[in-house]
Symmetry: C2
């Protein structure tokens, strides 16, 4: 082995060894966290908020994750009803596994009628309540609920009361910009989706498959 090759070989060995030690430490930290966490299964409340992409699609991803574990899923779409999205088309293939309720009428900036929006949001919440009272449903997705709360179509305290009374094992995923503080306070996991870059703002139209 030439001196150069031998140096390269030693460098590469050193990198691999540093990597091994670092990963060993990481494993120890993660194992300790897992050991410390309560292993009892329990339903959690997940909130996806912020101005970036991925709030609803992450909720739908969690829905199929739950379905993969044999759970039934209830979906209520607030606000977004006018769009027949790819997710809806896809999930309607599984009527025994997914119950779907779409509020209808589309975005409030299309209807411009606050009273009608409020009435529809209230009706959608009644549907949400039936899911939240049904222990056979493992995950409830309340898509764009935060928008309905932001415009005060629904009262946040009434909504929280219903959420907290749900079956112990039921998961809830709530999406939409501007999650109210009160909701963040009672949630288990909250993620803020921030915009780094958005194709739409760069002048690329909304694309089937990724945007709707």
């Amino acid at each position: 082995m030439s001196e150069q090759n031998s140096e390269n070989h030693n460098d590469s060995q050193a990198i691999n060894e540093r990597h091994r030690v670092r990963m060993e430490r990481k494993k120890a930290v993660i194992d300790a966290q897992i050991a410390a966490a309560d292993d009892q299964p329990i339903g959690i409340i997940v909130v996806n908020t912020g101005n970036g992409k991925g709030k609803s699609s992450s909720g739908f991803g969690m829905a199929i994750r739950a379905m993969g574990h044999g759970m039934k899923v209830g979906v209520v779409q607030f606000i977004k009803g006018a769009l027949s999205t790819g997710e809806e088309k896809f999930l309607r293939r599984f009527p025994d596994e997914v119950s779907f309720h779409v509020m209808g009428e589309g975005y409030t900036w299309d209807t411009q009628n606050r009273e009608r929006d409020t009435e529809k949001a209230q009706l959608a919440w009644q549907q949400a309540r039936t899911f939240l009272a049904d222990p056979s449903i493992g995950l409830v997705l309340l898509d764009e609920l935060n928008i309905a709360l932001k415009y005060r179509y629904l009262d946040v305290h009434a909504v929280i009361a219903d959420l907290l009374e749900r079956p112990a094992m039921q998961h809830v995923v709530i999406t939409g910009r501007g999650a109210p503080e009160e909701l963040v306070a009672i949630a288990d996991t909250v993620t803020e989706m921030g915009v780094v870059k958005h194709a739409f703002k760069a002048g690329i139209g909304a694309q089937a498959g990724t945007e709707w």
Copy 2:
């Protein structure tokens, strides 16, 4: 009508009218953006990064969105292979619509062997390349690719070259913490998922349906 009632009525009318005007303006802004955006369908690159939840689940949500539009999907899971997740279980029900490749061996902090990880990542990338060369696949999900790039199991420039050579209509979704700058630079939509609150850190174990 009593004076009090009449005042309440006027208040409520004023709120509704302000709402109407605000929504009208919002609609005008959104309509203008839609008009300005290029309506030609084109494949985009979406990157979900950051330390928060929802990067992978959003990618899987986009996968079913694409399936709802009749597209075929190719999934390569980098790093995460050891876990049989709910998404995988679910998507394996549709072998004609979803091609699935899992790198195997699980998290690198379990294996602690850099050379073996590199080899496996390279093999997984070969699978990714076959998807990226196939115009019949409408969306390619490269789950946790950013981790493989971060540990330099794969060369970011080689990966970018392959991404840019893909069919014009094909969407790509890339997930994982620490997306490299070079990748952000060529992506169309980039979202940073930030942690506001995490159930796991609060001592609640990972839950089937929401976490795996």
